[in-house]
């Protein structure tokens, strides 16, 4: 391909495009245990896990056009399955983590089967109802979930094998788990990216834009929606499993409906029209949260205000805003 034939402005775009941004971000994040403080590493890990959670929601929200108000249920099921297996039964992480994904997938399949039969607001209501059921079970089933006491002190996975990896042997268990989380999330995001860009993902977008027409050309709309629902739930379950270990415990608060709203705000803050929007939103929200809570206790007020600005002034989110500015700037230069 000869780029020399293209106009200068377009070529600049291509140069920016040829930089493997995802790899750069991954490598920068991988240096965190060595260059950043323990507190910054803590924030980075929170961002990485929230990024996966938000991207999984966006598979429903942005790609398929399903407004799930109970996505936290799947995050919670993943966290509890992994936490219970590891703490109560002493199952190693290498088995508990896939089991958390599997358990969440089964639950998403059952609940999703009922949810996708409903349209629009009723879909949102039923997802909310399921998440409240999960919450009520987690909050009350003392013998298994620890009830309102939760499951504190989930053990870290056994990462002694990292002793034998040059460069990693000096790291503490917290930093080792951070690296493991980063790799697992990166693989998950790569899979989700493939899913969204695949013919299957294109079909989901078609269903979002016009479900009647999709059904008319012979697509089984509900089956596609259910598949998206299960995939989104499974990856939310993975995020939850990592989060339970990261935060050293699983508590019923993780499944509160306000958490569903929070991850939705992350997704929209970043921009639900873009695959990399939700991770940007997760980073922005986690960073803002810690910056603002050090000044004032009124974080919800700030969050509500951010949400108002987003809804009325910046519906495309941060990434949408940047892309808009970029195209405007390029258009002006080209003219």
């Amino acid at each position: 391909m000869t780029t020399t034939a293209l106009p200068a402005t377009l070529r600049r775009g291509l140069v920016a495009r040829r930089v493997p941004w995802t790899l750069v971000v991954f490598l920068v994040l991988a240096t965190v245990p060595w260059v950043a403080s323990r507190y910054d590493a803590f924030l980075a890990e929170q961002i990485v896990i929230d990024a996966l959670f938000a991207v999984s929601l966006n598979l429903l929200l942005g790609t398929t056009g399903l407004v799930s108000f109970g996505h936290v249920a799947y995050f919670g099921v993943g966290a509890y399955v992994c936490g219970i297996l590891m703490k109560t039964y002493g199952v190693p992480f290498s088995l508990a983590f896939p089991a958390a994904g599997l358990g969440t997938a089964v639950f998403a399949l059952i609940s999703g089967y009922f949810c996708v039969r409903l349209i629009k607001l009723y879909f949102a209501m039923l997802t909310l109802a399921f998440s409240q059921i999960v919450w009520a079970i987690c909050y009350k089933w003392n013998d298994v979930t620890g009830g309102d006491q939760g499951l504190p002190e989930i053990p870290y996975p056994d990462l002694a094998w990292m002793d034998h990896v040059p460069g990693l042997s000096a790291l503490g268990i917290g930093d080792r788990f951070y690296l493991l989380t980063l790799v697992l999330v990166a693989v998950s995001l790569a899979v989700l990216h493939r899913v969204v860009r695949s013919p299957f993902g294109r079909m989901l977008t078609t269903i979002r834009d016009n479900p009647e027409r999709a059904a008319f050309i012979g697509v089984n709309v509900r089956a596609y929606q259910l598949a998206a629902f299960v995939a989104a739930g499974t990856f939310a379950g993975f995020a939850g499993a990592l989060y339970g270990i990261f935060s050293r415990g699983v508590f019923a608060d993780y499944v509160l409906w306000s958490k569903s709203a929070e991850v939705m705000i992350m997704t929209i803050l970043g921009g639900m029209g873009f695959f990399w929007g939700p991770p940007v939103g997760a980073a922005a929200l986690v960073w803002l949260n810690q910056a603002i809570t050090s000044y004032t206790e009124y974080w919800p007020f700030v969050l509500g205000t951010i949400l108002l600005v987003l809804l009325f002034a910046l519906p495309g989110g941060i990434v949408g805003g940047i892309v808009g500015l970029w195209t405007r700037a390029r258009g002006r230069r080209g003219a």
Partner: protein, 292 residues
């Protein structure tokens, strides 16, 4: 189980039910006409409670000014509803429901913190108005007069609402808007004003119920979120937008909660959520609602 015990359990459920009906009817009304789930309805209720407390402090700290304070609280929340609808909500009609849901959620966050800022995080309480203090004996059980008052006010509001909806011009407009708002608009009715009016009335009802709860519950931050979840279950069971559905939904919710505690202690919460999920699966538009 002794009949008097069952009766007192039943009355407890009924008090919860009629009280929830006051709150949920406003939520259901806004959904029926505007097709919006207003999460901020619980915040309006909470502000009603705080404003009533404030009114009682200003008017008569001994509690005699309760009724004036109640009216003040309901009117104050109604005015807030008007501001919210005219300034913000108006521009969200016709946009995706996601944006409308998130807007009302933003209000929940902002109003919750505003209440904390203005009234602190401690518990506040209002004493029962003297005329309704005390209790009476019914079937060998002790019933607080204030609970009986709440139980009476529920059907009174229901009857008034039925009269307005079925016997007045405004009610006809509201029913028409529920069925086909484009057609109503095309026929020359002022749908914009009708929407503002509905929203304000719904906020007024929320403020009123918030004020009326103050003698039996202490006012605390977080009461907004607690109540919206319950009101939401009630309208889902009865049917979003259905007036009688909300009434019966409240009764079912109150009694399931009240007797559920006897049958599976600790799992009554679970039973109401499960009931809600089953109804959404079998009849998404609720027991008394109509499909959209």
């Amino acid at each position: 189980m002794a009949p008097s015990f069952l009766f007192s359990q039943f009355m407890g459920g009924l008090t919860t039910a009629m009280f929830l009906f006051l709150i949920a009817s406003g939520l259901s009304l806004v959904f029926g006409v505007m097709r919006v789930i207003n999460f901020a309805h619980g915040s309006f209720y909470m502000l009603g409670a705080y404003l009533a407390w404030q009114g009682v402090q200003w008017l008569h700290p001994t509690g005699a000014g309760f009724w004036a304070a109640t009216l003040f609280a309901a009117a104050g929340v109604g005015v807030l509803g008007a501001v919210v609808e005219r300034l913000f909500f108006r521009s969200l009609y016709g946009r995706e429901e996601l944006y409308q849901l998130l807007f009302t959620y933003a209000l929940v966050l902002i109003l919750g913190d505003a209440a904390k800022f203005l009234w602190g995080t401690g518990q506040l309480s209002v004493s029962t108005p003297p005329a309704l203090a005390g209790s009476v004996q019914i079937f060998g059980t002790t019933q607080p007069i204030y609970s009986l008052f709440i139980i009476a006010i529920g059907p009174a509001i229901a009857f008034a609402g039925w009269l307005v909806l079925n016997r007045t011009g405004v009610g006809r407009m509201v029913r028409a808007a529920q069925m086909d708002r484009e057609m109503l608009d095309a026929l020359g009715a002022n749908v914009g004003t009708l929407y503002t009016g509905m929203f304000v009335f719904s906020a007024f009802l929320a403020g009123l119920s918030g004020a009326l709860v103050t003698p039996i519950q202490s006012i605390v931050p977080g009461m907004d979120v607690l109540i919206i979840v319950q009101a939401f279950i009630v309208v889902v069971i009865g049917g979003m937008g259905s007036f009688w559905g909300t009434f019966w939904g409240s009764v079912i919710y109150g009694e399931v909660l009240s007797f559920g505690i006897l049958i599976f202690p600790g799992f009554s919460l679970f039973s109401v959520f499960a009931l809600m999920a089953v109804i959404l699966i079998v009849r998404p538009w609720g027991l008394f609602g109509r499909p959209l």
